[in-house]
Amino acid sequence: MTAPPAVDPEIDAVHDREWARLARPGTWLTGAQRVAVAASARGGKADGVISPAATEAARRIHDEPATITDGWINGLEADGLTRLAYVEVLGIVARLRALDTFTFGLGRSPRPLPDPTVGEPTRVTVDGAAFDGGWVPTVGAAGPPNALSAVQAEHDALHDLHGNLYLEPRGGPGNTMGNMQVVRDGLNRSQIEFVAGRTSLLNDCFF
């Protein structure tokens, strides 16, 4: 059997940081609730730690994101999951899926979820976040760079993964989206975008 490839140490470090973020209190959810969201997304049980609405959100975001509608999110809100808490659930699940897919591809077992740490959510709000073309508030028009911008910690975590797994969302030389000549670990920009496109097609995502 061919040995799996070695992992870029920066990706292992990102994984470690994400697990630490997952375990500690977030903006709207406790550490225990955050870990329960991740467990639900993976198909496990939340043991009453999170609401049925949060459980449903975690599973649908993970398994059927292309079926999500504004009406469905309205229903979650009616059942007690605020839009901002939904953004936090979304951030957790989306990043989990990224790292679990990477792990699966390498032939590794999923990393066990961390033990949560005690503490209260920060409840920090973001000035200027408003509905602008999306179903959740964003700072500026809703789009890829700011999908989670209404919850600062989730926004920061997204960009931690994005730059280390793919490219930095900015111009300039190096591993950036503005660099059409980038070659990363021997994969050129055309190959990188081919992988991105193929993944998106499989997820029925047409952005």
Partner: protein, 94 residues
């Protein structure tokens, strides 16, 4: 570009078929195909590039979910791109 939507089409990229196969296996969680696709990719494009391809796939698993979950769809211009690669936009985005 059609190779994005149809794995039987030659993308013209180095290791294109291997990239398709390893992405498909990872995203679709195909436990039987994954080691086969990974080994083929390693042979054709090397271990570091295979690792990076899986990282990129992971990133777009994340981004796809973010955009679908907040209701951000393709621009009108993307309709033409979809037609060009043989992947027309579904009704919900037209």
């Amino acid at each position: 570009m059609r190779a994005v939507g149809d794995a039987s089409v030659d993308s013209g990229l180095p290791g294109g078929a291997a990239l398709s196969a390893v992405v498909d296996a990872a995203v679709l969680r195909d436990e039987d195909e994954m080691p086969i696709a990974r080994a083929a990719a390693i042979e054709q494009i090397g271990p570091p590039a295979t690792m990076r391809a899986l990282a990129v796939a992971g990133n777009f698993e994340m981004m796809n979910r973010l955009l679908d979950a907040i209701g951000v769809g393709p621009s009108p211009q993307m309709r033409d791109v979809g037609d060009a690669i043989g992947v027309p936009l579904p009704a919900r985005w037209r």
